[in-house]
Symmetry: C3
């Protein structure tokens, strides 16, 4: 169980770090900027969740090896893109972003449940874990966060997936099954939303 | 005493949530955005204060019912505005904002005093509690925070009110009297500032 | 040793507070805005470090005298600039900024080492302590953080200096020697970068 949780966290961090590298490359930041943006995207959501739940030490303080891994990942991807003359498009960023969204929703919700949070709080922690890294990434790149800018569902996908993680055990499922199912639902919903171009109705008062 | 404190916190949260709903509606965000902005405005200041004072668990983690209440409030207000064709103006946002400012100043300062903070730290906590929710609301709506943008006194109102909360007990008043008086002073100062259009002198060096 | 650490922290806070006052004056904020920006610049980095390392109470909660000192410093500088008709230039801001960068790198890294962090985490804490106050100052003044905007090395200077603080004791140096050397390296690197106008190569994929 805990091994699965760690594996999901690591996969989510790698996915978000990739999205950060692509975003920073599109903005033509320098090498330091690429590492900063990748780090914020990868560690931002999990760190805010840990501050809110008061979980210490942070996983990246306890296991400094992840920080080295992040630096190595950034260097590898930068080197690869430079030698292969690959320029990342906006699409290229959305795939790891959707994957990371699903994975972090699953791990964030499960960790909050294990810490004894009530259902809605656990859901909220899942949503925060899944979205805050991306919000930081966008703010630092001087973009209005995608969460608020485009009207395509983003937080809603995490919200629905987090409820799956919370609710399936009530129906008799094992926590690890609920986690996998919730993560899958989040990621697939996000991918479906990108695919179909569905947008939430803007809310407006009056005519 | 503690019941009064809770009542003030709840009233302040409702006031700031309303200001968030109105602001989000003016920016024509979707339903998710409205709830996010209302939540940041309502819980932002208190949560930062609790992180700084190391008070755990957060009140919205302990009492998840407030989160449900927030969702219900947002849904009700949205439904009401839609069916009644009411479009919120900037004025409409300023009333709950001023009210919330006063209430959060009172509760934030008092909570810091109970946690044993020295006077100036307690005042600062009151100001942070009262202003940070609004700052988050404005940043997320892609506005420069009102705190810094317009030169009408805002943080100053909270600052004065917080000193009232701290100082009245020195003159023999009961804490709950000081709290009510401080909150009232903050809110009235802010309303008076809006009413008269008074602006702080810009500070500039030289001619 | 601990006296040196405190002295370095205080010097760094004064340097960053000055950079905040100058920046706020250049933006023609009012007196409240000047104090807010100076306070964020002076206390922002250290407070984030303390939240991440879970060190309580914060030094400015424990020693409220620093808050009074900050207010007095702001008032004095404002009064001086107004009576002397001195208008701060962008250059004027960069000297205390570079000095504060070096001092906070030294103290932040050393504090993280004393808290038992592994080398890379201590380095990261030094960089966060040194840069976050300036980032807050820039965000609040509605500038893209200098850290990301100009391509002159900034975080890199702190990064190199922090490694000096971590590595010198491995070579047999006393911690206080390592601290002074690391701080000096950071500040001098930053000043050299400003002097020569050296910029990091922008990273770009393909032709």
């Amino acid at each position: 169980m805990n091994h699965l949780l760690t594996a999901i966290e690591v996969a989510a961090m790698i996915a978000f770090a990739l999205s950060g590298v692509f975003e920073a490359a599109r903005k033509r930041l320098d090498a330091v900027g690429v590492c900063v943006v990748a780090g914020l995207a990868a560690f931002g959501g999990g760190t805010l969740r840990d501050v809110l739940l008061d979980r210490r030490p942070f996983f990246w303080v306890e296991n400094a090896v992840w920080l080295w891994g992040l630096l190595a990942l950034c260097a590898t991807v930068m080197l690869f893109m430079r030698t292969q003359h690959v320029a990342p498009t906006e699409r290229a960023m959305q795939w790891p972003d959707a994957l990371g969204l699903g994975l972090f929703t699953a791990s964030g919700t499960q960790i909050a449940l294990q810490a004894g949070s009530p259902a809605l709080v656990a859901v909220l922690m899942g949503v925060i874990t899944a979205t805050f890294g991306g919000v930081l990434r966008d703010i630092v790149c001087n973009e209005i966060p995608a969460l608020l800018r485009d009207h395509r569902p983003y937080a809603v996908c995490a919200f629905v997936g987090a409820w799956v993680v919370v609710a399936l055990p009530w129906l008799g499922a094992e926590p690890w099954q609920a986690m996998l199912a919730g993560g899958l639902v989040s990621a697939l919903l996000r991918i479906a939303a990108l695919w179909t171009g569905y947008t939430l109705p803007r809310w407006s008062a009056g005519p």
